[in-house]
Symmetry: C2
Subunit: 241 residues, 2 copies
């Protein structure tokens, strides 16, 4: 129901005759979102829960090719989606790396606390010289925040690297979405996270290459929330896929 | 100094030996950002102010091809950059379409008020049936908010369409950054904005195609702020380019 991963509260843009369309605003917004997703479904398979994440990635990036860049770490491609949706249903906290990702998580369809890591761990960063983003993850991890949580990294490769170390040290998020972007360690941080997540059996959704970003991470997380809503409504049964 | 357009307060990720690097955190962050931008400068020309926006688009998307998708509406490609930087120096308000874009605007290097449109115009939307995002733009426009402002659209095509109508009705933002993303009217809304901005002589930075998004819009706006900082520091003279 969202474009570019922003909160659904924020949007009702789309395919109307210019912008004025006599009719319900929310219903209209839903219709618009459906039109958009219908177009995406013509470009991306629609068979598995993993396909819903692939669709969402195309929706969020506006790029049909992005579906091929996603990677799913788990017993099968859909496992991280099931794990994420279950965590949403369990009202697990959603912990983002930065403010912008937090701002992109929908306020609807869940009762999860949404919080960000950045802003924590300032002392640790000052003491050790590690980056503030890494320190923020380690600080929250020392408080046990990531165990059972949905961990989301949209921007900071160092957050993804720190999270990988936490997994090695025994932390068990319910699921991870990690799509940090850029030319410095972004792809490498995701690769390391995939290796550690596979070893430690933590369900993970990432991508390959330099692309990614906050909007994408928020959007994929919102799709986990959407899947959870569908489970709640009886439209999806998690164990069957 | 940012990746993916988030506030610079939020980040210091990057090219360190793993995430721990004995050294200053902020200095380290700046070094990392420079490393990243150095790589981008190998991929994108570095001659004009417009090139700085092209570089930033590559930095934000992690995709060297994105530079070719940008479009600059003005007397020359760099005019919207000069106009945006001047507006930052004049402490003009920065008005974003949605919350996520606002969250991505850096808090440093400027004294501009940063506000979002969404959340305004609920009555107008209810009365007319237009979308909430369009109504929010028209509502703020009726209050004169966009005149002299830096208008930023990262997500909502209907916000871009509404803004185009405002320009036709005589509203004069100092500069516009518009990169709404998606499969429904995103490209069309940007095209219409370009046509109207050219007619009305309003400096505008947009892109072609379906790609775009909140992170990109925030990032390009942050580069306008960065250019303004360079002007303030005497490193850039706006009239010479």
């Amino acid at each position: 129901m969202t474009t570019d991963g922003h909160a659904t509260d924020d949007t009702d843009d789309g395919d109307v005759e210019e912008y004025a369309d006599l009719g319900a605003t929310t219903a209209n917004a839903m219709e618009i979102a459906e039109t958009s997703m219908d177009r995406v479904r013509n470009l991306v398979p629609d068979e598995t829960l993993a396909d819903r994440i692939r669709q969402k990635s195309v929706h969020a990036t506006g790029d049909p090719e992005f579906q091929h860049l996603l990677r799913f770490t788990g017993t099968d491609d859909s496992e991280p989606v099931r794990a994420g949706a279950r965590a949403v249903l369990d009202e697990a906290p959603v912990v983002t790396d930065i403010t912008m990702v937090k701002a992109g998580i929908t306020g609807r369809g869940h009762d999860c606390e949404v919080r960000k890591a950045i802003g924590n761990g300032a002392e640790l960063a000052a003491e050790t010289g590690m980056t503030r983003t890494a320190a923020s993850v380690l600080e929250l991890d020392s408080e046990g925040v990531y165990d059972g949580a949905i961990a989301v990294v949209g921007n900071a490769p160092t957050a993804a690297l720190a999270l990988a170390d936490c997994l090695e040290d025994g932390t068990r998020p319910a699921a991870i979405v990690a799509t940090p972007v850029g030319f410095v360690k972004a792809a490498e941080s995701r690769q390391r996270l995939r290796e550690v997540a596979a070893e430690q059996r933590v369900p993970l959704i990432t991508n390959v290459g330099r692309r990614g970003g906050s909007g994408l991470a928020a959007s994929l997380t919102n799709e986990l929330i959407h899947v959870a809503s569908d489970v709640r409504d009886g439209d999806v049964v998690l164990d069957e896929q």
